[in-house]
């Protein structure tokens, strides 16, 4: 049957059709043949019985009468029927054969014993036993043996015809079947072919064209549905595959390009399976090198065993802790590893993230060292250090602060509110300061604290705010300096200051009153002292006018002397008053042109230079910040001195110059005149001090005193250099103004 299964549908159909046809045909024909044969035999039987009847009719009488010849005669008549091979008649009583007939005399045929009436086909012949009756009287039994060859031949012919018919029909059926099978097989073959194509090309976009609504049509419909399902599946699968591919790419990218150092090693063998770019970059190994290494090769000698033992036992996600790796160049790094179990290319592996914490470790170490250092500074500082949390509670203090507050132990201060150490009246200020601290302001201020022994300690506090990483205020830190002694000293100073101030006020009042007195004095000098002088000279003049001629020479000389003395006194009084006025006059300070002051002074001295040969050496002068009129008077005094004391020189040389340094301008007047003895230089600038006789050089001794007074009021200095008969140089300085 299997072979049948494997043959094509087309052939199957043909075979089925042909088989069906053959079966039908053969069955039909066979039935026909059998019916025909039965019919023929029945007819033959019928004919035989008729013949036997006929023979019997003919032979009845002879039989009855025992006419053997007659009977034989009758039997011989049977020769007309060639098919009757043998015939005999049995005697009615004796069952003996009465007469015989043989178509072929040479036959060896033996008649069977008498039987009841029947017609039976035997091999190749039909035998009939038929009782011959005459008037209801048994006259004997006739036996006929009739050849059935005709029937056989007819059967044979019929078979032949049938075979030919079958063959012809088969050919026809084959042809028809070959054609008709296409109706069924074509759509199926088409489907098969298409399926083959689809399965070969994996192209599910094809749809079959439905031929009809029969089973094939439904099949097509189902197939189309199936195809669309497949297409959908394929699309879904493609999409999924694409996604998987993308995600693989992503993951690969994530691995390769991950800035974190990643490695994958096989769990059982600790062989390195993959590392990413960051690893390569960080460790310096090439990819090929690292993939030929084991995980343990990365570790330092004394960690190899430990990591090997540990790595094999890891399951799931682990923080593996701190280890030390060696880079290709031998550099040792401290790392932190976290790893996770993965399946990598079918192998049980672990992926590890490596974090190089070498720098952090170093920084931590440095921080630790710096903390130790600062702790030491804090502990040994000469200033108290006091940190508070944002509620004002003490968090950290050093030994010095504890000492300042008069406690023995740090623990007696820690945790306490800073206000516990303060006086009630200082609290409003403290709150203000704390608010400043919250605003992030740092400041330095004085604060009184209450010591453990109840005494007050004055401190200078440098307070700053402490901010956390997010710039949020978390507390304050203060540097506390004990300034109690200084404070006491300050209070002492304040007291002294106020005393001093009172004394200054007192003195000022005294000075003012003295000044007033001086003013009154100089006023009365200017008024009252001059009046008598004027009277003296007035009356002297009147006397001269009226009585001069009556006087003798001596008298005239006395008159002359009185006149000169009174004149000299007048000059003295004027100079003294000028001097006194210059000392009291209000200064009008301004940026003044020194060159102009000298020019003006020289103009005022024109009278004195008349008829003199004076060589002037004059350099340009810097401007000064001074009272113009006063300084001009200084120049007048100095220059008139120079002119006066060079009077006896044939050629007077007077140099006017200046020397400047950072703090002051120095001016000088140098002459080649009478000069002076340096031993008396100190006296030069005193009031009424003169180094020359009135006869040599007239004067009151006020000029230089006036110069000194003016320069002193400008906060400058005056001095002189000289040598008798060689000349003198008079200097004065005016400070440069700074910051004005």
């Amino acid at each position: 049957m299997n072979t049948f299964k494997n043959i094509s549908i087309k052939n199957k159909l043909i075979i089925i059709i042909i088989s069906t046809s053959i079966i039908a045909l053969v069955a039909g024909l066979s039935a026909y043949l059998i019916i025909d044969m039965v019919k023929v035999r029945n007819e033959m039987k019928k004919n035989a019985i008729l013949n036997a009847t006929l023979v019997g009719q003919y032979a009845a009488a002879p039989l009855l009468f025992g006419y053997k010849e007659e009977v034989t005669e009758v039997l011989t008549k049977l020769s007309a029927i060639p098919s009757v091979l043998d015939a005999c008649l049995y005697s009615p009583n004796s069952e003996e054969i009465f007469a015989t007939y043989h178509n072929t005399p040479s036959t060896s045929f033996r008649f069977p014993p008498l039987q009841k009436d029947n017609a039976t086909f035997k091999a190749g012949y039909l035998q009939i036993f038929y009782t011959v009756r005459y008037k209801e009287q048994n006259c004997g039994t006739i036996y006929l043996r009739i050849s059935s060859i005709a029937i056989h031949e007819k059967f044979r012919n019929s078979l032949l015809i049938m075979a030919i018919l079958v063959v012809l029909l088969l050919i026809t059926v084959y042809i028809i079947a070959s054609r008709l099978q296409k109706i069924i097989s074509f759509p199926i073959l088409n489907l098969a072919e298409l399926t083959a194509t689809i399965s070969q090309n994996q192209d599910f976009t094809v749809q079959l064209k439905q031929q009809g609504n029969d089973e094939v049509g439904i099949l097509y419909q189902q197939f189309n549905h199936l195809l669309s399902q497949l297409l959908k599946r394929q699309n879904e699968r493609d999409e999924a595959e694409k996604k998987i591919k993308e995600s693989e790419t992503h993951f690969r990218y994530l691995f390769e390009q991950n800035p974190a150092i990643l490695l994958i090693y096989e769990l059982s063998s600790l062989t390195m399976l993959a590392v990413n770019d960051a690893f390569i970059k960080h460790y310096g190994y090439s990819k090929a090198e690292i993939l030929s290494m084991k995980l343990t090769d990365l570790y330092t000698e004394n960690e190899k065993e430990a990591i090997s033992n540990l790595a094999e036992k890891l399951v799931g996600l682990n923080y593996v802790g701190e280890w030390h790796h060696l880079k290709k160049d031998g550099a040792k790094i401290t790392i932190e590893v976290s790893s996770h179990g993965v399946t990598y290319e079918g192998r049980q592996a672990r992926i590890a993230v490596i974090n190089d914490i070498t720098e952090r470790k170093l920084a931590e170490k440095a921080l630790q060292e710096s903390e130790v250092k600062y702790r030491r500074i804090v502990d040994t500082a000469n200033e108290g250090i006091w940190t508070l949390d944002q509620d004002g509670r003490t968090t950290v203090v050093n030994a010095r602060l504890v000492e300042i507050l008069g406690y023995q132990d740090v623990e007696m201060v820690i945790g306490r509110l800073v206000t516990d150490f303060m006086c009630e009246e200082d609290l409003p200020d403290h709150r203000k300061r704390m608010e400043n601290r919250r605003q992030g302001l740092s400041e330095t201020y004085e604060r009184r604290f209450r010591r453990n022994d109840g005494r007050a300690v004055w401190t200078l506090v440098s307070g700053s705010s402490v901010l956390d990483d997010e710039q949020q205020f978390v507390g304050t830190i203060g540097m506390i300096t004990d300034i109690t002694e200084r404070k006491l000293a300050e209070q002492e100073i304040l007291k002294l200051n106020s005393e001093l101030e009172n004394r200054v006020i007192e003195r000022t009042a005294q000075l003012e009153s003295a000044n007033k007195e001086l003013e009154a004095f100089s006023y009365s000098v200017s008024h009252d002292l001059r009046a008598p002088l004027r009277h003296v000279s007035g009356y002297l003049e009147l006397l001269t006018k009226r009585n001069y001629e009556q006087l003798d020479d001596k008298g005239k000389h006395y008159m002359q002397s009185i006149s000169e003395a009174s004149n000299q006194m007048g000059v003295l009084i004027d100079d003294l008053l000028n001097f006194s006025r210059a000392g009291r006059m209000e200064m009008k300070l301004d940026n003044m042109d020194m060159n102009k002051a000298i020019k003006d002074a020289l103009a005022m001295l024109e009278q004195e230079t008349k008829g003199r040969t004076i060589e002037w050496i004059q350099a340009p002068m810097p401007n000064v910040y001074a009272d113009y009129a006063m300084v001009r008077q200084v120049w007048v005094n100095l220059l008139s001195n120079a002119i006066k004391y060079t009077r006896k020189c044939d050629i007077a040389t007077i140099e006017i110059g200046s020397i400047s340094d950072a703090s002051e301008n120095i001016f000088f007047v140098r002459d080649n005149g009478a000069g002076f003895d340096m031993n008396y230089a100190q006296k030069l600038f005193g009031v009424f001090q003169r180094l020359h006789s009135m006869e040599d050089f007239e004067g009151t001794g006020i000029g230089l005193a006036n110069v000194r007074q003016v320069i002193k009021r400008h906060k400058g200095r005056t001095w002189a250099e000289g040598e008798t008969d060689t000349g003198a140089t008079f200097y004065f300085s005016i400070p440069k103004i700074t910051g004005e």
């Binding site: 004027r534 000279s537 003049e541 008053l577």
Partner: protein, 152 residues
């Protein structure tokens, strides 16, 4: 006929008075000089009060006023003159020994017409007084109010 007006000299020191008169002698002005000895007398004279109640009415052509005088000094006299409607146009010349800024400023602030420091030198003094006398006694033209009472 217009009578020449007087020159009023306010001076407490008789020597100064003498010397001043001496100086004015040459200009023939001395006989026109009326002398008062202090500030109070000066104002009494000008206002025809006290011992001057019976004097001939009329203001002088000029008042030569010393500053330092007993009872009422020259500055106070000047201030009263300038605040008195009847006297305020009277020419006043300070004739004083004082060269003090304070006196100068006060005088000019109060509207003095001239300020002369008496020179110590007598010739200078003579010259100064002479010129004062001539200028104020003869040259200077007075405002009508002061002129009027002297007219007959």
């Amino acid at each position: 006929m217009i009578e020449l007006k007087k020159i009023l000299l306010a001076e407490d020191n008789p020597k100064d008075v003498e010397l001043t008169l001496e100086a004015l002698e040459d200009s023939l002005l001395a006989n026109r000089v009326e002398v008062v000895k202090d500030g109070v007398e000066t104002l009494e004279y000008l206002r025809c009060e006290g011992k001057y109640a019976d004097r001939e009415p009329g203001l002088p052509s000029v008042l030569l006023l010393d500053i330092k005088m007993p009872r009422k000094d020259g500055i106070e006299v000047l201030r009263e003159i300038r605040s008195d409607p009847k006297l305020k146009f009277l020419p006043v010349v300070m004739l004083t020994s004082s060269r003090e800024d304070k006196d100068l400023l006060n005088s000019y602030y109060l509207g003095v017409n001239a300020y002369v420091v008496k020179p110590v030198n007598f010739n200078g003094f003579i010259d100064a007084v002479k010129q004062l006398g001539i200028f104020w006694g003869l040259v200077n033209v007075l405002p009508p109010e002061i002129n009027q009472p002297n007219e007959h």
